[in-house]
Symmetry: C2
Subunit: 490 residues, 2 copies
């Protein structure tokens, strides 16, 4: 295949993003508009995310289940705001059979196999899940229900971008049912903090946890909490949401329970999710003009070993040495590149573009010195590591350092491009260059819409941590009710 | 919820199966016909299967990827037999938006959002995957491709049965591309043996590996290999298939490569899959009139500990003792049942119905003797186990014994109900009572259809191991070409 040239970020950030994906073979376009193929290297990153998240969900008491892909069309209408939010992007199944085109070639939907009620492919599963919860919940003893689902969903998108916005995507959606409002609110907050922990400690990505304004809320939620990450161009990317749904879905699907005190009450709900867009966030947070950079915690290959040989006489010994090093590094995710068809330089180039955090080169001199020559993907110069009983712990420490370096760099970028501004004039001038803007704000949906219209910036969240509104709103001059974080966003 | 009474197998085998599923809370019916909800206990069994299979796929050099759910309708027609096999059961997406019903209530497909070309929900992914392989394969250096996908698929079924036949189901589908016929055939055989190993060593289920007759082949395959298991009523259940696809899909999607010798050739293919129907096979193989029995390798809870106490004064000590035992058994999958709302007998009843292989009861006497009282789900009497430094190894040995016992029992059933018959008259008489029938057979599709028509039995496979045809066909009297395994099947 043709080599991908990676456009520098400074030249065209969007092209750079697409080039990094192509060069690392993370995904490919499919023949269906907006639907992505996750190639093995890209899927493996998602699979590692899934493993880390799944463990955190289990540790917080959740279990997995699976609900149907197809939802009766009428279910969507049961919650008024929900249908408003999702009807416009639903894939609709209307037939259950194809037939040969009469007198022609190919196939067509069989008119005799038209469904009585069309089905929609789930854009999210609140409706079907709350229908089922209605069957399972009778008394307070059936609560709480703490279920998560790993699934694919479809939301018809007109403008798509690999990982960040696709018609079909993979995600997890937690759906919990509780006996009290307080318990549901606590669950909403707890899962937001699980996402934050995952972003920081696994993705090496700092995030701002906060609350969405009313106009940015999930369709059907009483409150939406989110974590917001900053990409290298200063744009925001919503990296996870956790919704307090109140009793909205319980009322829509008539799900109630008999309380301890014998009273019949509607159930309280939450839902929360992250998706394959996190892979996009990961790419945009850490990569450089050379290509992908993966934090070791999410790298399908953490260490690549490249033995170097001249001629067949050296080959066997070099590979045996490399295999010995690889065996010593277990259970790290290690690959030994034994290909004959590529020169060492071409191999280095390929693994750098694929984001492998640490490369260990092995040449005749390294073998003679009983060492390997280490090249971290984060730069900072190459160095030798003795092949002795400390090899594994040295490599592990180096990987931990790479993980910490990536987090550190991302934190510095976030700090350097987060601004406090006091006037709308200043905001309008500076929003062009990207960044997060903290402002004193008086909650007002109309003003929010005006700002979006004029600047393409939105309220990403009202940050949870350490922000108290003071003085007057930067836009309206009215007394401030919130500190708002504005940014342009993916 | 109402308690499910489990119908005895001898009374009604099909009712028994449904009752076991309901009592163990493995699945539930959804509002969409033929689509199942996998409840947490049922999903957890599938998740364990997935983990075991995925490791085996990795160990044999495969990687995971993900291809789109939606396939252009025209793709299906590109391989003539494939469309024949799947067009009649396709869910068809025709619209990408809903709208409010004009002047009415609810929503309907928006006529303005009709797709130019309808999309089908994948019934299997050969077509879209071979379209992508066409983009990725140029030369022999791009081969082999060894990809597996974990996904949901939809095949519209008129008559469904939980796990065994559902409109949507979860599965894995391997799709490999090779430079030679021989290599593809070897891959087909290798993956069949991977499935056999999984069935025997994880599911504790003996299977007959074999080759399908032409009329039972996958639509588009040159040859279909399968493993067939025997359920307790003597019916067969196909538990996995591995297909040699020849160059059929490579030709349909024009996928060729330049060989080492510089010649352009079409690529050789395989595909292979198992699905959530394996959960149904597992239930039917091991369970009894009391309810579900799970082999320890696939039990979400391998050991349940039931502390027994009288009054609050004893409770704390009993639970502390149980927690200590649970901690000593890590990393086994252990649950301590501390519920106040149920008496010990009710707890035993519940965990037996949920198939937990081993129960450890802890009463005041056991605590005084520093022991636990063990009750294996496979019967054979209860016995004490000292709580000492050997506790974990004793419990592990007991679980291994339970796993072996279940396999042993299934092997005995299979042996006892596998018959050699020489005449069609005898076959017709005995097929009613169930079982596997080995016959000398002269391959003939018309005779096969007649037998199916007259007896509802089909050729499950031509067994691979240790069967050579001799003499004449039991049906036609012509010289035998195969030994065929006939049975009624799910």
């Amino acid at each position: 295949m043709a080599e991908t040239t990676i456009t520098p970020r400074a030249k065209d950030y969007n092209e750079w993003y697409l080039d990094v994906i192509a060069a690392a073979e993370l995904s490919d376009y499919s023949p269906v508009k907006g639907c992505l193929v996750l190639r093995p290297h890209g899927y493996a990153v998602w699979d590692l995310m899934r493993g880390e998240l799944d463990q955190r969900f289990r540790d917080t008491g959740h279990v997995n289940a699976y609900f149907p892909l197809l939802i009766p069309m009428s279910f969507l209408s049961k919650e008024a705001e929900h249908v408003e939010g999702f009807a416009k992007e639903c894939a609709v199944v209307t037939h259950h059979r194809l037939r040969a085109v009469p007198g022609g070639t190919g196939v067509e939907p069989d008119p005799a196999a038209k469904l009585e009620e069309p089905l929609v492919i789930r854009p999210t599963s609140e409706t079907i899940i709350w229908h089922m919860y209605g069957k399972w919940i009778q008394s307070h003893r059936d609560l709480p229900i703490l279920i998560n689902q790993w699934a694919n969903v479809v939301r018809w998108e007109m403008k798509t971008r690999p990982f960040l916005r696709t018609t079909e995507f993979l995600w997890q959606e937690g759906h919990t049912a509780h006996a009290s409002s307080q318990e549901a609110v606590e669950e909403t907050q707890k899962m937001l903090r699980v996402y934050e922990d995952f972003a920081v400690n696994v993705m090496a990505t700092p995030v701002i946890p906060g609350i969405k304004s009313a106009s940015e809320r999930f369709a059907g939620a009483v409150e939406t909490m989110c974590i917001e990450a900053m990409m290298q161009n200063g744009w925001a990317l919503q990296a996870g949401t956790s919704h307090f749904l109140g009793q909205n879905f319980a009322k829509a699907f008539d799900v109630s329970f008999t309380s301890d005190a014998g009273v019949r009450e509607h159930v309280w709900a939450t839902s929360w999710g992250v998706s394959t867009r996190l892979v996009g966030a990961l790419i945009m947070t850490h990569s450089d003009d050379t290509g992908l950079i993966l934090p070791p915690a999410l790298a399908p290959i953490q260490v690549v070993i490249t033995p170097i040989w001249k001629g067949e006489s050296e080959k066997e010994g070099a590979i045996a040495y490399a295999d010995k090093v690889a065996a010593a590094l277990k259970p790290l995710r290690v690959k030994v590149d034994t290909r004959d068809s590529l020169k060492p330089g071409a191999k280095y180039f390929e693994w750098e573009r694929k984001g492998v955090p640490l490369r260990l080169e092995i040449g005749p001199r390294d073998m003679a010195q009983n060492s390997v020559f280490a090249a971290p993907r984060t730069g900072g110069g190459k160095f030798g590591i003795p092949v002795d009983e400390n090899l594994k712990s040295t490599v592990e420490a180096k990987l931990a350092e790479i993980q910490a370096t990536l987090y550190q760099r991302a934190c510095e970028r976030l700090a350097a491009r987060t601004f406090r501004v006091d006037t709308y004039a200043e905001f309008k001038e500076r929003i062009e260059e990207g960044g997060f803007f903290l402002v004193n704000w008086c909650d007002d949906a109309a003003n929010e819409a005006t700002i979006k219209e004029e600047t393409k910036a939105t309220i990403r969240c009202y940050p949870l941590d350490g922000q108290t509104p003071t003085g007057t709103c930067f836009f309206s001059g009215r007394p401030a009710t919130h500190v708002a974080l504005f940014a342009r966003a993916y």
